[in-house]
């Protein structure tokens, strides 16, 4: 159960499965702490990487207490999403246009704005 919203979380998205499994498999306290830190780092990095794509659509995402992500647009609207599986449909709803990685306009935008490796690495 999500302690913030009381919602039962029964599905772990495939992009987060490995980090979640590792965190759950840790037994001793030290390993548990390390797994938790790795999980948080991965979530931060996922948000940073996704932001490089969302920038083209005027959107931004950040981790929200390690349990959800918060998606915002330039008009100040925000939505909570559970994972990348639910992020894209909500992002599409906010922008009102399809988000498609095969879109040449997105490709051009990505080429013009090279990846910021320090952000992508969560540093």
């Amino acid at each position: 159960m999500c302690i913030l919203c009381g919602e039962f979380v029964t599905r772990i998205h495939w992009t987060e499965k490995h980090a979640e499994d590792r965190a759950r498999a840790s037994t001793d306290a030290g390993a548990k702490d390390e797994s938790r830190r790795n999980r948080r780092r991965e979530r931060t990095r996922r948000a940073a990487v996704t932001n490089q794509v969302l920038r083209h659509y005027g959107l931004n995402v950040c981790d929200w207490s390690g349990t959800k992500y918060i998606l915002r647009d330039g008009k100040g609207r925000s939505e909570l999403v559970q994972d990348l599986g639910s992020l894209w449909p909500v992002a599409q709803k906010l922008t009102g246009r399809p988000l498609d990685p095969l879109d040449p306009a997105l490709h051009a935008a990505l080429r013009e704005a090279p990846a910021i490796s320090s952000i992508a690495n969560g540093e």
């Binding site: 039962f8 029964t10 599905r11 998205h13 495939w14 992009t15 499965k17 490995h18 991965e42 990095r45 996922r46 990487v49 996704t50 490089q52 794509v53 990348l84 599986g85 992020l87 894209w88 449909p89 599409q92 399809p98 988000l99 498609d100 990685p101 095969l102 040449p104 997105l106 490709h107 051009a108 990505l110 080429r111 090279p114 990846a115 992508a120």
Partner: protein, 345 residues
């Protein structure tokens, strides 16, 4: 859990009746949609009528098979109570027109089932006599082949001489990642059929991705056969690619999840090994919107440590996938390299 599907009359039940008679299958439960004319004689045979529940705003693949949920939970309960002996495997036989994707979605998304079952193989039977006809006229048949880990060519004993080669080439064009087994009437080795994908041969990764996925330059003869086969496949493309270095797993997940959001219905299959810069690769396996939980392997199955991924798409061209991955190069940290593409002519 093993899913057996295939078009009407393609020999699913005949295949199952042979496989289930093997002593090694004693701890296997079987869920069938209907008790057909060919009787399946197995002590753990259950009927599960297809009852699909479409989720709100859901697509066809994101439907829950409530009948399966009930039957699989019942098996767990009976096993727990000691009413049946511990199970090694559950085989689910679908109807001929069934799309296997909702079965995958059901198992991966159910809060209990996802912790007790995993789908190890999707087996698809294709009739060597009528297979071409089924593929010509029924898009469901093409989708079933695209979803297959193993394609069993049945009735090869009654097919005309030389008639099987074009069908074999066509199946390879649709799904280069599938392992093909030929099964004349009831002649199939259960052990070979149910062998996990990664163990099909010592030359492991060739089999994970299909027999031709590693070849950078197919022979002119191969190309001629595939071009001919591809004409039949209309809008179905298969693209085998690698990367010029280890990919960033988190970033690749962002790209693939976005692709599945936008084009999931047309991404009939994604399968492969991805070099993420760790000791072993990530085993990717997805059917339309539904991804198997990625398996982070402890080591590579052979000496070849390159990423190798196959995309089977409907209406999405290889060039489009490559252009997208090329544009994402800065994020994914590696650029795509085409290994092989079978495009409609």
């Amino acid at each position: 859990m093993t899913i057996v599907t295939g078009f009407l009359g393609s020999g699913k039940t005949t295949l199952l009746s042979k496989v289930l008679s093997a002593p090694s299958m004693a701890s296997t439960a079987v869920l069938v949609n209907e008790f057909g004319k060919v009787g399946l004689d197995h002590h753990l045979l259950r009927r599960a009528d297809e009852k699909t529940v479409l989720l709100e705003h859901g697509c066809v693949c994101c439907t829950t098979r409530e009948d399966l949920v009930g039957a699989l939970l019942e098996l767990l309960d009976e096993e727990d109570k000691g009413w049946i002996s511990p199970l090694d495997r559950v085989v689910v036989e679908t109807t001929g027109l069934a799309d296997p994707t909702p079965i995958l979605f059901t198992v991966f998304s159910h809060p209990v089932l996802q912790h007790h079952y995993f789908v190890n193989l999707v087996i698809v039977t294709v009739d060597a006599v009528n297979g071409e006809l089924h593929l010509d006229h029924n898009p469901e048949s093409t989708k079933q082949v695209a979803a297959a880990d193993v394609v069993v060519l049945t009735k090869t004993d009654v097919a005309k001489t030389g008639a099987v080669d074009p069908l074999r080439a066509r199946l390879r064009t649709i799904n280069p990642s599938a392992h093909t087994i030929e099964a004349p009437f009831r002649q199939v080795d259960p052990e070979e059929l149910l062998r996990p994908a990664a163990k099909w041969s010592p030359n492991g990764t060739r089999d994970v991705l299909g027999h031709g996925a590693n070849r950078l330059a197919p022979s002119p003869e191969d190309l001629a056969v595939r071009d001919k086969a591809a004409r039949h496949v209309s809008q179905t493309h298969s693209t085998s690619l690698t990367f010029d270095g280890p990919v960033d797993w988190v970033a690749f997940g962002t790209w693939l999840s976005m692709l599945l959001h936008a084009r999931g219905e047309d991404v009939l299959r994604v399968k492969g090994l991805l070099d993420v810069g760790e000791a072993g690769p990530v085993l990717l396996n997805g059917v339309q919107y539904v991804m198997h939980p990625p398996d982070h392997l402890g080591g590579w199955p052979d000496e070849d440590r390159r990423s190798r991924i196959v995309f089977i798409t409907r209406g999405v061209r290889s060039e489009e996938l490559l252009a997208s991955l090329e544009a994402f190069r800065g994020i994914i940290k590696a650029g795509p390299r085409l290994l092989e593409a079978n495009a409609p002519v």
